[in-house]
């Protein structure tokens, strides 16, 4: 690992200014659980490391039953799942926060970092996309909102421009009779990279027998996490049934464009998307019904 300079700005303005003037010489550090590993392995060099954990807005976690959740980009996973209100409101998000690494990693790793790292396998990203999450970004030209499904642009690349930082993620308030779930497939039971992952969110009508809407997103089956819009939309207005779930899973499989590598083949990954879509939809339905 090469020596680097380190600064820890205490405001968004200071961070943006530093980043804008340093260009590609600077790298943002949140929990560091991706960044430091990449630097030590020589996959990334960073003459200047900008630690954003000291900025108050990035540590905010505020929930309001009507406005939803504002999750500061640097909030570590353990804070999310230890907050009883947030955990009750967004079990689909907690699925991801629990999956990322083990206890030690969860003490540092942030959802913001997971999204910005833009790995096709990032376990929080499909969950946030399924929940309709929005990324709040600030840069030299002010603030803007980017839909989570538009945020990742290529493996390890995101939509941020020079000088921009992800400040927080907004997740809409949970609707009545709604439920969500994220599952990934790994050969071991923990500490692994998703061979395939699926996040599903559904809203049912008051009877719990019909879909109002649904969103499905996929991990590890394309250069970026995939928003399988057609798969989710196919459920809107339909009665909850095995056929409807099956049909949505087939559309999700069609949206998957995986490659074969040491972690899995095209056929295996596509097959797993089908399995996981059915499982996450069924779990989401159960949660929506209060199960």
């Amino acid at each position: 690992m090469e020596p680097f300079d380190f600064i820890s700005p205490s405001s968004i303005e200071e961070a943006v200014k530093t980043l804008a003037s340093s260009g590609d010489q600077a790298r943002i550090l949140a929990g560091g659980t991706d960044m430091l590993v990449q630097m030590r392995a020589g996959r990334r060099t960073a003459p200047l490391v900008v630690d954003i954990k000291g900025i108050p807005e990035l540590n905010v976690m505020s929930y309001d039953a009507s406005k939803g959740l504002t999750l500061g980009a640097a909030v570590p996973c353990y804070r999310i799942y230890q907050d009883a209100t947030v955990a009750t409101a967004y079990p689909g998000l907690i699925d991801s926060a629990f999956l990322i690494g083990g206890i030690q990693i969860q003490g540092r790793a942030s959802i913001g970092g997971n999204i910005c790292n833009a790995a096709p396998s990032g376990d929080a990203i499909p969950a946030v996309i399924a929940l309709g999450g929005v990324c709040n970004v600030t840069g030299p030209n002010g603030t803007r909102e980017i839909l989570c499904e538009d945020f990742c642009t290529a493996p390890g690349r995101n939509a941020l421009e020079n000088g921009e930082i992800l400040v927080s993620i907004s997740i809409p308030a949970p609707q009545p009779n709604a439920g969500a779930n994220y599952l990934r497939f790994i050969p071991r039971n923990e500490m692994d990279i998703a061979v395939a992952g699926v996040g599903s969110a559904v809203q049912l009508d008051a009877s719990g027998q019909n879909f109002v809407s649904a969103r499905i997103a996929l991990a590890s089956v394309a250069p970026t996490p995939v928003f399988a819009k057609e798969a989710g939309d196919s459920l809107a207005g339909k009665a909850v049934s095995e056929e409807a779930v099956q049909q949505a899973s087939e559309l999700a499989m069609a949206a998957a464009k995986p490659i074969s590598d040491m972690r899995g083949t095209i056929r295996q990954r596509t097959h797993l998307i089908g399995v996981l879509t059915r499982r996450t939809l069924n779990n989401a339905i159960e949660r929506a019904r209060g199960g």
Binding site: E2, F185, P187, R188, N189, M191, M262, R267, H271, L272
Partner: protein, 758 residues
Amino acid sequence: MTSNQVLSEVEYDVVGKRPVRPDGVDKVTGRAQYGDDTNLTGTLRAKVLRSPHAHARIKFIDTSKAEALPGVRAVITAKDLPFASLSKKELGGEYTSLKFASDHMMASDKALFKGHPVAAIAAVNAHVAESAMALIEVDYEVLKPVVDVREAMQDGAPLLHEDLRTNDMGETGEKPSNVATHMSYSIGDLDKGFAEADLVLEKEYTTSTVHQGYIEPHNTTAFWNSDGQLNLWTSTQGSFQVRGTVASILRLPVSQVKVTPMEIGGGFGGKITAYLDAICAVLSKKTGAPVKALMTRTEVFEASGPAPASWMRVKIGVKNNGKMTAVETEMAMDAGAYPGSPVMQAIVCAFACYDVENGKVDGYDVVDNKPKTAAYRAPGAPQAAFAVESLIDEICAELNMDPIEFRLLNAAKEGTRRIEGLVARRIGLVECLEVARDHDHYKSKIDGPNGRGVACGYWPNRGFQSSVVMTVNYDGVVSLLMGSVDIGGTRASIAQQTAETLGIGYEDVKPTVVDTDSIGYTFITGGSRTCFATGLAAINAAEDVKSQMISRAAKIWDTNEDDIEYVAGVVQHKSDEELKLTFKDLARQLATTGGSVSGRASVDPSGEGNGYAVHIADVTVDPDTGKTDVTRFTAVQDAGKAIHPSYVEGQMQGGAVQGIGWALNEEYFFDDSGKMMNPTFLDYRMPISLDLPMIDTVIVEVANPGHPYGVRGVGEVAIVPPMAAVGNAVSAATGNRMRSLPITPGKILEADWENGKS
């Protein structure tokens, strides 16, 4: 549920008990001194520049820019090793072995695997050394690599060593080849045996390259003193082994090298070869300063010694009643860059569980562009057992026969002649099979997506040289010095055998692992030999102490030594009941009767007791994803005598766990250029605690007649059966017969698809 149990044959006072380990407090409080804790004043840090290519000719190396970097103290290449300045003529018959050993440590003409050392740097700190690596210019002529054992055997495969010719049963091959050796054994009449069979099955099996995965990476500190003495502090399974390798590569007399073995964070066979020692030594000589090197995990994966990948064909003939009539196998294992795979052990162990009249085994030791393989627990035997025990499971299914009854019918016993010609002494396979058959695990019901598999395994265990010295202190405490590195509880188990022999308390024995100048030659901690052979040395040294204690008493009582006996820690006159001294009381009088008493012994025993194990595995396979979970596992093993049952159980559980990893997920992935794609614990998937059930153990004690307490080795045979046990369980659960390791979820799904399931 039953958990760990010991089926004891004889009760002793100290042997067979579970005292706290002498090194325990230091280890749990973080005070134990491992290799990386060696910090001599002025130590430089070394980094090794490694070949990015799996196969390349090294045309030239320019180190001048690196040498010019401030903070860099020395750079070496293979030119700095003695081999470079020795001629073929001078070396004579030693030429090839020295070239291989020296080149393995640092490549002279060719890089033969990705990660092969080509240069090394000593600098004021590791960061400077790392920066300097980028400044070394190496001109490579990249060659086509071969990383598959069968491809490497083909005519026209890229050749690693232009002058390597096959040693085919003593005859040297005509043209260069990657097949270093072909070996063969046979017994009886194979054709007759197969002709007598009612059922003959023949299948092929493959296994992948796997790593031992010890938690502590290799490390060394070397200091070449100006008086010519070379000191090494290192993590190794064998300090004398390191001394021998370094002395031979550096052309030094062994006594000029002193190796201090530090505490070791795992080895499993992988810490026998010396990788960094000679490199640090040469850098230390050049700089006059101590030099320390640590491998990263990636270096460990890419450039230490994994276990070989294998291809195996097995053919077995049986009568309808299950009696085996003939067995045959051909096994090829890749040795990596230099010859020396454990294929010989593989073919010898393959059928050692069975009493069969007719058999033939052939083995091929093959070089390819992978790191040179090293020992890994029962080297060669786990692969062989996977093939043989899987085929036997298929035979049992065809015959509709219980797999344990089948094995009992055919089990090797005392007097069984094995394929390599040796006749088995008293062994405990039948006892292990009976315990497994009667275990409530085996009797419990299993169905649904679950499956159960059983398999057995054999490992000969080793003897070899060990030395022990023990001194009686005036307070009655015995200082016990040994050359055996303590990996799995050696201090405790040797202290127990010492205490038992002397009839004193375990807490009155103080064991220390010492350096190569402080004890006689002691072979590695490996081969499941240490508790047996070093234990025997300790027993003999204790007997030496006892006879000296008797002569001291004779002096005190002014009587004849023959009138004195040593019984359970008390020295007493045979006829005069008044004359009696406990070991402690007599120790207090040593100072006035001639000084301290030291006992010593060096042994090279041949009475090692063969090890057998039987494993039962239950699995659940997710029918949608192909993922296997091991839900219950019982390991039964003949320990001869479990000196410290907890450490025996630990070995059995550890072997089973490593075997489960080997069975399900562990493998090296290579890309087309021969580069390992997964050299991290993230992608080299060893099982984590969540992937494992409690491993239940049953220790069977069928005493080894070759050891006073009946000890057999226990460290290795535990990894022999698990792959087949798990594979057989997967087959029972899914109907898919898996003949290629690891049995990944992807392979299970593919097998489903091939069988028409979707």
